[in-house]
Symmetry: C2
Subunit: 311 residues, 2 copies
């Protein structure tokens, strides 16, 4: 069976999986190099792929945390060291590995994974929402991933409140500024500094306010955590309802680190918030992602197999 | 040359055009029946088509002011008399005319017209925004009209302000509640009743506040008219920028009664408002529609020709 290797390049973790017949056969996980810039990261990918490579591997797919452009470039990717521009990913990896390499946005890769093998299976029109450090999106229309000129699916940068909260990208009022973990952390610290007591800062200290910190604070009934999550849910409802009015998808799949951690109750709250904003006549279900951490690597491998013509 | 008849069924006017080789050959315009319900309207269409019909006409396309559903149904269409549900349009017209009939949303029809023969020619990914009594949208992706399950392209019902102004559809904070002529009229009268002097009410009296009334009031520097238009432009900027983040279109075409009346300066203002909200990296031009009142009928005729297999 022709198989492929899928790479999910994240801001903190690099996950590499050999995919045989739509199933993850072997997987390796390491920290993403946090120094050395794009060269160090591409080197880590090359070494990781070489370690998992078997003779039946015919292609490599890479999902990366930034826009994927024609020609196999990716970037800017603010969560990767030194990756502040468009960086060539396809050409250097193809030359080093002597295999065809496909490159796409990480959430787009996860969307393909969930569409083919996960919670989006069986529908032709699907919006995948990835709620993690930021908020990513992937759009499958008529069964095909919509990439546009490289930036399609950027649900996290839809404007849900004109002139609202500052987003990591410099824009104002974007969904990500309300529902991304990093933005929620910034807002929690701001409210804490303004005098609000919150378990979020107590638990995280000076370290990153992980998804598990949000889960713990919510479990104790922490007020600030409850407010921030409520605002995130409302913002997701507005953006998803607006997206549905524009493209009329049947199903929304919600995944990502924060969503996985907070579980199906969060997805149910997002579904209710969406229904409250949804244009009359639209029908839409909101369901949890099913592939967990493997979605991106699986999807990237499937895209690479397609591109290599080995369906 | 195989030709087709395109019908643009509007809330006030019924425009019927014979289209030969992509050009309007003959056109007839009448008032849309305002009593007698759907039966009277379908009768008017049948009679109008019969009058323009020549032996080379092989198909009929109907653009209607409501969602178009699989099976040739349209509705609800709040701007048509008695059309408060899904109404069969394709079957009765096909049987009466003995010709294949295609049915779609009016702004989707205009989008096809502008894409093939107007301001959207030459691009594969296009958003058409129709600013008239309401705000409609049509989305062309990879060269094909996106219809979804019948409601795709409903830009006017994207949420631009959660909990904001009441929309004609019963929703809150929709674009149409800020940028549709009818909603702007409601808001103008509300501000007038709250004590603001405005030429808008002076000029319109108890009658419909037409686009020409807005144009005249703006020309005299009327403050309320200026505010309302400013709010409409901002709302359009937010919705268009959000749409671009989601689907990454290259071009936005702005047409419709109010937009045509206020001219290219309005379109330039919308372009600037969009640019101010646009996600970094996206590129987008906003241009005026070019086909004027004929866009819908032309587009409907082209869709009907395609469906009849006579390209």
């Amino acid at each position: 069976v022709p198989s492929a290797i899928g790479v999910d390049l994240g801001g903190t973790k690099l996950l590499i999986a050999r995919v045989v017949d739509g199933v993850v056969d072997e997987v390796a996980k390491q920290d993403t190099p946090s120094s050395g810039g794009p060269a160090a990261i591409l080197d880590a990918i090359r070494l990781g792929v070489d370690r998992l490579r078997t003779p039946d591997v015919v292609a490599v797919g890479v999902g990366a945390p930034g826009p994927g452009w024609p020609g196999g470039l990716v970037g800017p990717a603010p969560n990767l060291d030194g990756w502040d521009r468009r960086v060539e990913v396809e050409a250097p990896l193809r030359e080093a590995l002597r295999l065809p390499v496909s490159v796409l946005n990480d959430v787009n890769a996860a969307a393909v994974g969930e569409h083919r093998l996960g919670a989006g299976a069986g529908v032709d029109d699907l919006l995948v929402v990835w709620v993690g450090t930021g908020v990513g999106g992937g759009l499958v229309l008529d069964g095909a991933l919509r990439t546009g000129r490289g930036l399609a699916g950027e649900l996290g940068h839809m404007v849900i409140e004109a002139g609202g909260r500052l987003c990591g990208c410099g824009g104002r009022g974007h969904l990500e500024a309300y529902a991304g973990r990093a933005a929620m952390e910034r807002e929690a610290r701001r409210r804490h500094e303004a005098g609000r007591a919150t378990k979020l800062v107590e638990l995280a200290g000076a370290k990153r306010m992980k998804s598990s910190v949000f889960a713990k604070a919510l479990a104790t009934g922490d007020e600030v955590a409850g407010e921030l999550l409520g605002e995130a849910v409302e913002a997701l409802g507005v953006a998803i309802a607006s997206a549905a009015a524009l493209v009329d998808v049947q199903r929304v799949v919600v995944g990502g680190g924060l969503a996985d951690r907070l579980g199906p109750q969060l997805v149910e709250r997002i579904e209710r918030a969406t229904a409250a904003q949804l244009f009359a006549g639209l029908e839409l279900e909101v369901v949890p992602a099913r592939l967990g951490d493997d979605a991106g690597a699986l999807g990237a491998a499937l895209v690479a197999l397609d591109a290599a013509g080995a369906h």
